[in-house]
């Protein structure tokens, strides 16, 4: 009895961490774009969706998971590059209403085009065979290898992001662009290019999440929307524009959501429980805002 309770606890903790890491890959890019370019990008979730679709397609043709990941990221970034030049860069200096309207329009377009290209019905992607088993973490506690793998990949990407931001020339330019755009331009740096780079970097992170998650969910054109709103919750809790805040808030939201869905229905019965569990991250958000209206780790001041 206690052994199975412990097993459930460990399993759900790992699931929560995995959800948190995936959330961070998406919310991290969103908060970067928000903090540096001051752009509220509703299209961000659509790139996550796009990567999942491209991943399914490439995997179906090549049966190589590695190719699917590379293809999905490359494809999503290519689309993002075009959209950055055509639309996004004209929005950086606009008011929030204009940004919301334009990126909402783009979102409708991309989601609809996904159903035109890949059809209305959801697609499934198989896990690669070499990750299809489960690993015994502790004696008697098996855990799906694939979930462990995507958690690991997420952590590696997060560390790479941290290193890149703090110890490379590109990271330095990005941080400089965040703190003073005009000074950076005056020093002879092509600010437009730095912004385009940040935008594509954000999309690449979301694309990694999209293609990695694809075998765990059914891939449909609306999958980006729900994750986008979850990312808003993460960013609000973490503090806008703060990557560190987004990371911690992602883990928090991932864990609270997972535990809420597992334990609240048991605690409150099957009528009230599911309602409560779908609301608990929003209640968490309201609570955080009540105490700290700027979020837990505001980026500046």
């Amino acid at each position: 009895m206690t052994a199975s309770a412990a097993q459930l606890l460990i399993e759900q903790t790992l699931n929560g961490v995995q959800l948190g890491i995936m959330l961070f890959l998406i919310a991290g890019g969103l908060t970067l774009v928000l903090g540096i370019m001051n752009l509220l990008n509703l299209t961000h979730g659509s790139f996550y969706m796009l990567a999942a679709y491209i991943g399914v397609m490439v995997y179906g043709h090549s049966h190589s998971f590695l190719l699917a990941v590379l293809g999905a990221v490359a494809g999503a970034v290519a689309v993002a590059g075009v959209i950055e030049v055509l639309v996004m860069r004209h929005l950086y200096d606009r008011d929030h209403l204009g940004q919301v309207l334009a990126t909402f329009g783009l979102l409708l377009f991309i989601n609809e085009m996904a159903t035109v290209v890949w059809g209305e019905s959801p697609l499934q992607m198989h896990k690669p065979q070499w990750l299809d088993g489960s690993i015994e973490l502790l004696p008697g506690i098996p855990y799906p290898a694939y979930r462990l793998a995507i958690t690991a990949v997420g952590l590696v990407v997060t560390l790479a992001l941290h290193y890149g931001n703090n110890h490379t020339r590109v990271g330095m330019l990005i941080r400089a662009g965040a703190s003073n755009k005009r000074m950076l331009g005056a020093l002879g740096v092509n600010v437009d290019r730095v912004y385009a780079m940040v935008f594509c970097l954000g999309v690449a992170l979301a694309a990694v999440a999209g293609v990695m998650v694809a075998p765990l969910v059914s891939v449909d054109s609306g999958m980006g929307d729900s994750i986008l709103i979850l990312c808003f919750v993460v960013i609000t809790i973490g503090g806008m524009g703060s990557v560190r805040g987004a990371f911690l808030a992602s883990l928090l939201v991932g864990l609270v959501d997972t535990f809420g869905r597992t334990f609240l229905p048991q605690a409150f019965g099957y009528t009230l429980g599911p309602a409560l569990s779908s609301m608990c991250i929003y209640m968490l958000m309201a609570l955080v805002l009540l105490v700290r209206p700027e979020g837990l780790f505001p980026a500046r001041g």
Binding site: L91, H96, V100, F104, G105, L106, N111
Partner: protein, 325 residues
């Protein structure tokens, strides 16, 4: 020019049920309902500068209130409609109290997130049809006064309610209260400096907008004779903002015209292609980038930005300072 446009629109609106079959009245009523929803959001978005991206929440709460009451056997419109308005206003108090503590992008994300919470809550209600929603057993009845099942009568009820709420909103934005709201959009810091607690004004406006949206929700539930989580979908919130911008932001009647354009366009396009969103999306991007005055702005010749900034801040400051003096 402005009076003439108004008179022509009023005449056209009155004539709709005579223009064709019941279908025309139904589409007309839908336009009026979404027009009411857009107008209510314009009150806070256009005048207060509050970009609420969760307006579908109050619309949905209004609809679900009617649905839940009908489900429990209460189909008197005299109970159901006020209940829908009160429920939507109560939810607006709760959401507004949190969201209005923040501003800018935070406010947009928060209103969206809270609306989404209600969306998931509605999906989870299996006894109310969950994901699929459920049909209403009866239309709400207003004694023997009107027959809500008749499309033409329903249309006129909706038109009367839209006229009443728009008149109310119009009076509101012209009042001292409205001046403070308008000044919030232009320079909130200055208002705070002269000692006006903007939070209370914004919250009051937010609740009024929510209440009117709740009324629109009660109407849509009766028109469709159906409630579904689709009313709470964040796409509705986006579409309403779209209607406002298409019609002319900060003009109250402009958003109603925007709703008409949107729904008529949708009715025209959907028979030809199922992928209406693929056409609408790029239109929206272009509108956001290049076309900022809206139809009403073009018709009435008054750009929304013409309401001068500093004059109105000063007027609001004077007006609001009076009671304390």
């Amino acid at each position: 020019m402005r009076k003439l446009t108004l008179a022509l629109i009023a005449l056209a609106a009155l004539a709709v049920p005579f223009m064709g079959s019941a279908y025309v009245s139904v589409v007309g009523a839908r336009i009026l309902i979404y027009g009411m929803l857009a107008m209510s959001l314009d009150l806070i978005l256009g005048y207060g500068g509050l970009v609420s991206f969760g307006h579908a929440a109050y619309f949905g709460v209004g609809a679900y209130t009617v649905g839940i009451l009908a489900f429990n056997g209460i189909t008197s419109g005299f109970i159901a409609f006020p209940a829908a308005v009160v429920a939507a206003a109560a939810i607006a108090v709760a959401i507004g109290a949190f969201s209005l503590r923040t501003r800018g992008i935070y406010f947009i994300m928060l209103t969206l997130a809270f609306a989404q919470m209600l969306f998931y809550l509605a999906i989870g209600q299996q006894q109310l049809g969950g994901d699929d929603g459920m049909p209403l057993p009866h239309h709400d009845s207003f004694g023997g006064l009107v027959n809500m099942a008749s499309p033409a009568q329903f249309y006129y009820v909706t038109l009367a309610l839209l006229a009443a709420t728009t008149w109310l909103a119009h009076r509101l934005v012209r009042s001292r209260f409205g001046l403070v709201l308008d000044a919030c959009r232009q320079n909130e810091t200055r208002l705070l400096t002269v000692g006006i607690s903007t939070y209370r004004y914004k919250l009051a406006a937010f609740v009024v907008a929510g209440a009117i949206a709740g009324l629109a929700g009660a109407l849509i539930a009766n028109l469709e004779a159906y409630i579904s989580p689709n009313f709470l979908d964040w796409r509705v919130s986006g579409e309403v903002i779209m209607m406002i911008v298409m019609g002319g932001i900060g003009t109250l009647l402009g958003p109603v015209v925007g709703a008409a354009l949107y729904i008529i366009l949708e009715e025209i396009v959907t028979p030809f292609t199922a992928h209406w969103m693929a056409i609408l999306g790029p239109m929206l991007v272009l509108a956001a980038l290049f076309w900022r005055r809206g139809v009403w702005g073009m018709l009435s010749g008054v750009p929304a930005a013409a309401r001068t900034a500093s004059a109105s801040v000063a007027a609001a400051a004077d007006a609001a300072a009076k009671p304390q003096a």
